[in-house]
Amino acid sequence: MARRAEPPGHAHISLEVNGEPVEVSFPPHKTLLEVLREDLGLTGTKHGCELGECGTCTVLLDGQPVLSCLVLGVAAAGRKVKTVEGMARGPELHPLQRAFADLGAAQCGYCTPGILLAAEALLERNPRPTRQDIKEALAGNLCRCTGYIKIYEAVELAAAWMRGEDAAPPEESIYGRR
């Protein structure tokens, strides 16, 4: 297919997004967040401040969590970007997504995509994180709904599933302490 004429002054880059090669052109001042949402239609990545303060726009860049509001789109050229849309494994949810859904770790769901990706990066490098490891890995992601506790529990549950364990959510997470 013939490439469209680009508007003057636009940057044109190739990158990999959620495992697929993508080409995109955009004004060069745009952040990766804006390119994902506005030029690639991937609105699963959210924004809470666009100043690098809240963690909501976290995506994985070559496997590392970054704040997409602080990364220029052009800086993603030739690199691998993963967003929440790329987490599910075909028709199956990623274990983190499944655990977050089961335990109500997503309330309003707005911080959820960023937290899922930060958690995925954590489990990639540390399959058996302690509660403190999880707190430190997610300390840059604000959530105003959950008080973080269901998020910790979901990351722990998903980690167990990913290690191949036949884990179930603790009863106290579901019914409270007796």
């Binding site: 309003c108 105003r144 302490r177």
Partner: protein, 845 residues
């Protein structure tokens, strides 16, 4: 977007539930389920307002006032209009009709008409082909201001009746003055063995939802406006748009997108919503507006900073003989929900412990700061903070355990309070016992080493306001059901999903009644074209009201199906059971039909199966002016114990654990109930230790910290452990007995922490947030031999109106004020609309 609704609850959760609750009568209610929107939220499919992109969409920006208080002399928009890419510019004259959430406070304009009242007040709006061009155009708008003297604080507002920030209100810069007396408190103080007086201050805080407010408007040349918005109250936005734009409601469609957090901050109709709509109308193109994080701080409507004075008389056994409470609220620049907020600072003091005589004086002032309004707990966390610390002080003076003191004097269930609130089920005693036992209270209280301590506090909250915000005799919530002949059911309701799970509640209760799986139910909500009115996600009203409406609609559908199936099976309808996706004879369960077949039989017999249900709260018992705020179909109860570590060198307070028990009546879904409790504890912890809205009084009253980095909120590293106990004391008014959980559990957290700080280091911090600086000041004062206390020391003189005197029920009162005889219920209600007795509150998320 709805595909995920068919996804089944994961087997892990189901098995955990089944193993745990054998033989449970209810099949859906009370069990753990995924929320109906859970999968959409974890896969990025949920469309929030800013995720909408329409063809040819323009982007709008607001020019905001740099002055806290000024008259607008002149606005010149010509240069902005000349900028290439700018499609329209609006000023106040384009939208001259005022609006506001309460009928008595129609004091806002979409764009300032003649005056600006705080730094951040919207003055002009631009629509352009890109956000960048719209932002550039703002710089080209020339506004000439004539600065007026700003009013920075309640003290200034009291001292300076002029210049008036608004030309309405009870007097000068007082927006509202309230004076209510239920029985003779002076007599009560005379009968007391101990009278304790003190002042408290609760700082203002903001909701800080992760999603910034956004709206998209589209105008059809057919003459129809559609607005998508991150609002908790689409019905009220619908009304405000109709009023300001002078369009019939039938030509406006408001769709509330799922909110990325609300907490009360998206409960008012806002300038940006009206502006986006008007810009779409004048340009003929879709218009999006998304606020920046800084602008969200200006929208505010958060917790009112509140100064309080409490005087309580008690007998030696801790029983209260009289309570006198005064509150002074810093309202900011506009009315918002403020009249209701002010009443709420005096309403719920009576529903936890018995108070035989009660007097309340409340005042709200206007100041030149972003407007305050409803934040989670709406007007009640402030007095609860004061009251629960006050009781801790009283218990100590009486030599009683604070838990014991509370347990001895609980309000009895199914009783009427001094101010005519009708209490239903009341599980506070069980809540206290749970946290006392779970926390090891008896081994810790006054026994931990210096620097560590425990504190206890309790609270109660409404399950929906008894009266709607604008006077009407209509239901507060409506539900419509459509049964498909394939067995699917669609629930339509105006309620708004803000993360609290309101969409899921509709599916769970409908599934329970019809005996089907909640994930075979589609839920359509918050769309004024499609869904029956529900007033919105505020005042913790949604589960109780939409739940009851859905149950009613589902029962009507079940009756139709039962009648048709009964005929086919030749058994009386009363013998039919709906369960497991079947309708069958309870005496011979093998005889039955699948749910889908039952729908087909009914459809053949009666035509298309659609049913409706609605809910109207019971009338209030009080009939005095002011009786409209406080009544609720039911009250939830909470008790919390906080454990703290206080470093006497730095004053830093750490909270390792909070034990909390909440009487939710009946869990509809325990997982989401616990989620609301943990989220409430989190928000209470933030208010207790760090969150504050502060302004630079000496620098034009600009907001000191309008960013998420500088406005301190708890991260994972500050959040405490939470041990939750669910107490189920079903209330006859609730759906399956359910009460609220979204707001109530926030309330006991700040006072429990303050009481724990006292237990740890012996100083009283009667003002939140409890910062290291305040703790150190109190410790230093104590070391010098002064009172080890940080907090306000006096309450200003206020020109209170004469009291409205209402004899309590036990003094022969009937809820009417003295000298107000002959007011019939109808007349009362008419009068109430004038008196500003409005439902209020906010929501959870």
């Amino acid at each position: 977007m709805d595909g995920d609704r068919a996804v089944q609850v994961s087997t892990e959760v189901r098995q955990a539930v089944a193993a745990d609750h054998p033989g449970r009568e209810k099949r859906v209610v009370g069990r753990a389920h995924r929320k109906v929107d859970a999968v959409a939220k974890v896969t990025g499919q949920t469309r929030f307002a800013d995720d909408l992109f329409l063809p040819r969409m323009l982007f709008a920006k607001l020019l905001r006032s740099p002055h806290p208080h000024a008259r607008i002399v002149k606005i010149d928009t010509r240069k902005a209009l000349e900028l290439e890419g700018v499609k329209a510019v609006l000023t106040g004259e384009d939208l001259p009709i005022p609006f506001g959430i309460l009928p008595v406070s129609q004091d806002e304009h979409a764009l300032a008409l003649d005056k600006v009242r705080f730094v951040g007040d919207p003055v002009a709006a631009v629509a352009a082909v890109s956000e960048e061009i719209a932002t550039q155009a703002l710089d080209l708008i020339e506004v000439e201001y004539e600065p007026l003297e700003p009013i920075a604080s309640p003290e200034e507002a009291i001292a300076k009746p002029e210049p008036r920030i608004h030309d309405y209100g009870d007097r000068g810069n007082f927006h509202k003055l309230i004076h209510l007396e239920f029985g003779n408190v002076e007599q009560g103080f005379a009968e007391a063995d101990l009278v304790v007086e003190d002042c408290y201050f609760y700082q203002g805080s903001t909701h800080l939802p992760m999603e910034q407010h956004a709206a998209v408007a589209e105008w059809s040349p057919q003459g129809k406006l559609t607005l998508w918005s991150s609002t908790q109250t689409p019905h009220y936005v619908h009304r405000a748009l109709s009023k300001v734009l002078q369009l019939p409601p039938s030509r406006i469609r408001v769709i509330a997108c799922p909110n990325g957090g609300g907490f009360g901050g998206k409960s008012d109709p806002f300038s940006h919503e009206i502006v986006a709509a008007k810009l779409a109308m004048v340009t003929g193109r879709p218009v999006k507006i998304t606020l920046t994080r800084e602008e969200v701080f200006y929208c505010h409507r958060g917790r009112h900073p509140t100064l309080m004075w409490v005087k309580a008389g008690v007998k030696r056994d801790g029983s209260v003989t009289a309570l006198h409470f005064k509150s002074l609220l810093d309202g900011g620049a506009y009315g918002s929900y403020g009249v209701a907020s002010t009443y709420y600072t005096g309403a719920l003091q009576t529903v936890t412990y018995q108070v035989p005589r009660y007097k309340f004086q409340g005042a709200r002032v206007f100041t030149n700061k972003p407007p305050c309004g409803p934040k989670r707990g709406h007007g009640t966390p402030q007095p609860r903070y004061a009251l629960e610390i006050h009781l801790d002080k009283i218990a100590e003076r009486l030599g009683m355990d604070p838990a014991e003191l509370r347990l001895r004097h609980l309000v009895p269930p199914h009783s009427l309070t001094a101010n005519y609130l009708r209490v239903g089920s009341m599980g506070l005693g069980e809540c206290i016992r749970k946290v006392v036992e779970g926390s090891g209270w008896r081994e810790k209280f006054r026994k931990l080493p210096y620097g560590r301590g425990v504190g206890l506090a309790c609270s109660s909250y409404i399950c929906g306001a008894g009266l709607p915000i604008y006077w009407n005799n209509l239901p507060q919530s409506g539900v419509q059901l459509k049964l498909d002949r394939g067995g699917g059911v669609t629930v339509y309701c105006g309620s708004t999903e803000i993360g609290q799970g309101s969409d899921s509640i509709l599916a769970y209760v409908t599934a329970e009644v019809l005996g089907i799986d909640p994930f075979d139910i589609a839920v359509v909500t918050a769309d004024t074209d499609l869904t029956p009115v529900d007033l919105g996600s505020y005042s913790s009203r949604v589960t109780l009201m939409t739940g009851n409406a859905a149950i009613q609609a589902a029962h009507k559908a079940r009756d139709l199906l039962a009648s048709a199936v009964a005929q086919k099976l030749d058994v009386p309808p009363s013998r039919l059971e709906f369960a497991g996706g079947r309708v069958f004879d309870v005496q011979d369960p093998e005889r039955g039909v699948a749910f889908a077949e039952a729908v087909q039989l009914a459809e053949a017999a009666f035509g298309t199966i659609c049913t409706v249900g609605s809910y109207t709260p019971p009338p209030a018992a009080g009939r005095y002016r002011g009786a409209g705020v406080g009544p609720s179909p039911a009250y939830s109860y909470s008790a919390a114990v906080a454990e703290v570590e206080v470093d006497p060198e730095t004053g830093i307070v750490r909270v390792p654990t909070i034990w909390i028990a909440h009487d939710v009546g009946q869990c509809i879904n325990p997982v989401t109930v616990i989620g609301q409790i943990e989220g409430s504890v989190y928000m209470g912890l933030g208010e207790a230790l760090m969150e504050e809205m502060v302004y630079r009084a000496n620098r034009n009253l600009v907001h000191k910290i309008p960013s998420m980095l500088e406005y301190k909120s708890p991260t994972t590293l500050e959040m405490c452990d939470v041990v939750t106990y669910l107490v189920e004391d079903p209330d006859p008014s609730g759906p399956f007995g359910a009460k609220e959980v979204g707001q109530g559990p926030l309330l006991p957290v700040p006072p429990a922490i303050a009481n724990a700080v006292y237990d740890a280091v012996g100083v009283r911090i009667d003002e939140i947030p409890i910062t290291p600086e305040k703790v150190l000041k109190a410790l230093k004062a104590k070391a010098k031999g002064d009172a080890g206390r940080f907090g306000p020391i006096s309450f200003p003189e206020i020109p209170w109106p004469d009291p409205i005197r209402v004899p309590p029920p036990w003094e022969g009162g009937d809820g009417t004020a003295v000298g107000d005889k002959g007011r019939g219920a109808g007349g009362m209600r008419e009068r109430r609309t004038r008196a500003g007795d409005y439902a209020g509150g906010e929501a959870r998320g």
